[in-house]
Amino acid sequence: MNWHARILGALLLLTPLVSAAAQVANDANYDFAWDIAPRLTQAGCASAECHGGATGRGGMKLSLFGTDPRADYAAIVEDLDGRRIDRLDPARSLILRKPTLDLDHGGGLRWNEEDHAVQVLREWITAGAPYRGAEAFQPVALELLLEQRGEGSHVRAIARDADGNATHVTDRVVFQCSDPFALRVLQDGRLDEQNPQAKAWIFARLGQLDARVYWRGSQSIEVERVEERADESRLLRRLYFDLLERWPTTDDQRRYFAAAPQSRYAAEVRRLLDGAEFAARFDRFLDAWLERPAMAPSRSEEAVFKLDRIARETLNRSARAAAWNQRRDPRDRAEAFAKSYLGLRLECARCHNHPFDRWTQDDHLSFAALFVDARPDGAAGKFFDPEQGAVIAPRFLDRSSDADRSWSEPAALANWLIADQRERFAINAANRLIAWTLGRGLVEPLDDHRTTNPPLDEALLAEVTEQLLASSFDVRDTLFWLLNTDLYQRATRVSHGALEESTEPDLLAARPVRVLDRDELLRAVCRALDAPDPETGASASPLSSELELLHGERIEAALHAPGNLLSVLAEFGGADEVAMIEELYLALLTRSPTAAELRVCQATYSAAPSSLAGLRAVARAMILTREIGAHR
């Protein structure tokens, strides 16, 4: 021990004798849960690698990230007969000597003698190490403020009690940032910009309280929102591809533009949603979302477009077992269920609790216990704690006990999903419908709804969720509403010169452009050219996709298919090359060519030895363009 601390210790030893009155005041002011535990958490003492680990470290065990202050108080003040604190000589407390490296400490130096945290702990021990003083500050809310001070930016955390009194707590909250590549938040609240062009959320936690604030990098650019409606033929193309995975035929386009302009868009949306082609597309959407087996479930007529009934039927069908029995570990099944149906990544709680996450390891294990196979005699199977060996009682998330429920009773799972988790299921479904139609979810990744990954626009997600609930989970009604919003009908941003990754507009600023994958593009091209659907299935790397588009057999087959649009045009188009090229443009790009485009296409067409060869050369060029592969 250095001489400085010795003297300080001696002085502190005298303190209770000289100032009993002061001690009473101190005693009343301290609160372990708000003043002490958060400082240990912030210093990293309660992390999984240290004392927060499942078995603690070096004989001392704290709750992970300080989630259980009562237990931590017991560990510090009561365990080892209270040897970790020394009320008579606070400076000699193990809880101070270890982290300041006055004694050997496996975790190394956490605090210096002069750190504020050390002073606070010392005063708290001097005050008798109370769990909660009578007049201790009791925060009920936490807020974050962004400030510009001197050179750099800071975030400041403020806690308020029920009367509105505020106190600074920046020195004891745990910060986290939604994009650690963009920003690091230092312990004292200083912001270390990694990417000044980015934006991110900053979160802070103090005990059970949390708060967040949105941070815009010092060089971040606010992208101007695109408000104008997309060109109508572009919109029609977008609508057809989103709902039917093909572009409108020339007949579709003529019929559409012959109708009354005021009502034709809404009428077309309704017509497409009611058609059989959409039902098939919707099936593929469900297959991808709910991991349904390839075998199509026999959905009863009225349930076809109701998501709650679809979920119930999918869960109830024995087919589900086939899809999920590939996962032997009940935890894998529970995680797969949570991912699809609730949009939750429960697996994060498999290894340890996370400071901002709602679900604990206990929640994860008891939920997994619901997914244990029934025993051959029909009795519910048991799930044993993989580490401790004890039987885990099954329990749904958010519920206190469900010992009677089990995997062998899938109706219980469906009931819980549709009744208890109605809101969460609806939010997840709404976000998926948004991603389907707008190209990107308000929450991304789609299966990662959590506090530290908030939606891009909470009000908008709530509005779509409200629509879904109001229509009793009817997908067609909700899509009809969504497709008629201004948000869906907006134009994409027109060329904006040099592109930088960080200026990519978000979903709200402009319609995102999606690039079709090889099979999507090939299928749409074949349908537009009246050629047979290509064989699809295997995915491919971007480079081999491009190589195939250049030289592959499937393009060749579409261009040479007997009776395709090209051969019909060549046979009946006569000598009117302009009309033929216009027809190709309508079929492949849903628009007429500009004068300049027409001119270059005519040149290529005329250079070919025959009309059919000319049309093939033009069509092949169009299939290779940037425009046809981009869903704008």
Binding site: V513, S541, A596, V600, T625, A630
Partner: protein, 422 residues
Amino acid sequence: MKSIGRREFLAGVAGAAAWPWFASHALASASSASKQRALILLWLDGGASHLETFDPKPFAPTEVRGPFSSTAGVREDLQICERLPRVAALLDRCVLLRGISSGEGNHDRAATFLLTGHPPSGVLTHPGWPCWIDPDLSFDPEAPLPRYIALPTAPNASRSGFLAAPRGPVEMAIDLQRACLALLYLEARTSIDASLDLRNALDALDGAPRSEAEATRDRFRLQALALSRSKAARDAFDLKLETAADRTRYGSHFAGQALLAARRLIERGTRAVLVNWTGWDHHRDIGKELGYGFPAKLDALDQALSALYLDLERRAMLDRVVVAVATEFGRTPRINLQGGRDHWPRASSALLFGAGLKRGVVHGATDARGEEPLEDGIAPSRIGATLLRALGVDPTHEVMAPSGRPIALVAKNASPLLDVLT
């Protein structure tokens, strides 16, 4: 309006530093290529039976032993299926792994475990470990070829995962129908020059890309065109340039020509070639499926694999090329009622040879019926750890995953099998 010619179109991107290998000039110099280790991975997709390949049980009851016996050999532990005699003759120079064991009996999940080196996770799509052959992403700007190629397709688990797409495999189909055995997609059947010129003109009229996604696709389109126009690249893919004797030695079947192509590509600067041989999922008539045909699967495997070994030896490439034959799981020790075998992830096997690997080593063993490993099984993730180590890559090296979490190249508990490494 000025139309942009094909050459100008290419010239405009020649300086794109992120895509250096498409510089269409000379091959990588032999010296730079020879310094770096390279991988040839023969993937038997579907789950090849361990009992009919590298872990036969000739003394087990018929329903376990199956249709084939084993090779006679001096060392009992070096006996393999009798239909692999040419490979058997080389076993004193190879590493045999037996008792690769996991709980994953589903194709995708098991393949993920072995090919990514991590247990399957719902949260993070790990890249296939061959993507890590160059973990620092130090592209060789002189190399004319993609660094990682899959023939003819890539299993999902071998793809780029959370890494950017250029780090994943580039698939190249092999055309066995055409006598030339050239690789597909590199030459047009008909001239498409007129269409390419028109395409460039139309793209120019369209203006700049409207999003990062479009700009990224533009780069791949340029790369594809450059690759198909580079003589060096096209020669690398052209098996007609191999001698007739070599092509015959490897065999006129997919496995033979694909492994020959793999050797050819590695010689010219590619760092990893995954040969994806599909059709090893034999739930019925396993004896017929493996033992009959023109050629039979096992005969093709025997011919192609032994030819590859001898060819690499003759060309003095064994000290820089790592070769592995692996599959997602083994098959049920007891033959089922359809005469086939079902999925059995408890006891699979693999064969390795080449750079960084010992010779004539058998690691692990299974019980008398090929049901369970005798001692601790080999976790599938350890195969990747071992092969990365043989390739000179540290499997414990950590990279940042998109969530900002550091991730080791293969799972932390997957240690390399040190007793098979030199």
